[in-house]
Amino acid sequence: MNKVMSNKFIIALYVFPALFLIMLLIYIPIALTGYYGLMKWDGIGEMTFIGLENYRRLITDGMFWTSVYHSFLLAVFSALSLVGYLVISLILAGKIKGANLLRKIYLIPMLLSSVAIAQLWLKIYHPTNGVLNSFLMSIGVDNPPAWLSDPKIVLFAIFIPIIWQYAGFYILIYYAALKNIPDSIIEAAKIDGATPFQIGYKIKLPLISNIIKITVVLAIVGSLKYFDLIYVMTGGGPNGASEVMASYMYKQAFGSYNFGYGSAIGFFLLLIILIVTWLIRKLTVSDEEIQY
């Protein structure tokens, strides 16, 4: 047994293809992002080493900090919306007929490509022929806003389809976790006279706290690196009003050919994500795995 299953050559053969790919296409590029961030480089010509110049520029670049602010705003918004998903999942996981069908319907937007979603919502938000403004005018709103060209509201107008896209995903996760709680615990609480609200708040929520923690990380990290809908729907505009970190990086690198500066932003994005992940795990540290 041991001889056959510890053949070094075969192990290397089996591990190599996948390991080679992630080293070459994930880990080396990640290291290079930090390195290119120290360069002045247009992506085609020679690189010039300029030390921390790009990072100095980063600190004083107002547009960059605006994009950081927008990314964090989206992160807060996404984290808060988790509360809503939790409530919906608690209801669904109770004695609701058709819960399985409903959670599948909720999930559908998450399966579609961001480009298709973005194009669809561009039509929904269309100032005159879109379904949203037509509805608003039909109920008597005379001057409905031009959702995507008004710098004051464009950011929130983009948050809506992002929520629309991911709501079903989180509901699905919470629902699965809640369904995993043994009925005996809930029945025992009922016999002890607990109200449905108490059961939800004091028994079910603590029992799925690990899952909640994971979703908080997913929602915040996912928001901080969010790119797709914003890039397609507004390109960060108008005038930077919906710019986020990833779209700003993309614009600097592939729009203005500032590959060195873009790399610095990319590296900064990586650092923020690692720090935030570590912080959330640290702040919500749990002592033990929950056993039923």
Partner: protein
Amino acid sequence: MNEVTVQQEKQQAPKLDPQNSTRSLLSKIGYVTLYTVLGIIAFFQIYPLIWLVSFSLKTNSEVFNDSPFSLPSNPQWGNYLTVWTEGNISLYFFNSVWITATAVVLTVLSASLVTFAITRMQWKLNKVVLGLFMVGIMIPVHSTLIPLFDFFLRVNLIDNPIAIVLTYTAFNLPLTIMILLGFYYTLPREIEEAAVIDGCSVHRIFFQVTLPMTMPVIATTAIINMIYNWNEFIFINTFISSDKYKTLTVGIQNFVGQYMTEWGAIGATLVISILPILIAFFFLSNKIVEGISSGAVKG
């Protein structure tokens, strides 16, 4: 996982039937409210898609003169025929199919090989290698984009679908391995051990014993990979510039830019691009639900 024990422990708890009618009325109102709320959410999730199909079947004069809520008076199926035959949509569709399929096969096969080596074979560094794959889940795609672009430029793979297939494979490996691992750990090893004693080679064990036994989880990972690859946008948008290699996501993006005002054509294109996923979901929703939740939660 816990369901078996749950079933056994389930007790016939006494039902606390509300005796007086006010309480039962209240609970009825409560249920109606709940269903209304859940129904409204379902409506919001699904209505944009219904509206999309509706305007994909309209003429431009209907789109601009009639209410957007109205149904197409005379469904313009010709919109679909036009975009399929006149634009490049059929080419983009074909590219999406083969790029997605190739990347899925490569990912699932190489991930299975790694998972087999990590869980079934004895070697010292297996925890380290596993760790490398798991950390890969956290890496933001955007932070790798510039060096990847530079790398593919240097090795002459920019504007070449090989770059896309390899990138999709690499970035889907961590999640795929994570889902496979959970299944491999629960799979009994007796059959594989018996095969070793019978003098089977490792390759035969992997291909003829383990791989067939893991078919259910392979199906789950394959469908999740398929959805991710089919919808991927940023890599293909950055690495591919020729029309002949574009996939649907970036293809429709360009197409829509050209035909700004042709709502019917845009709608038809979008419907064509999401239809394969919707069909897959209709038939395989349980697999998809399982894949998405196991992939997310074990992270």
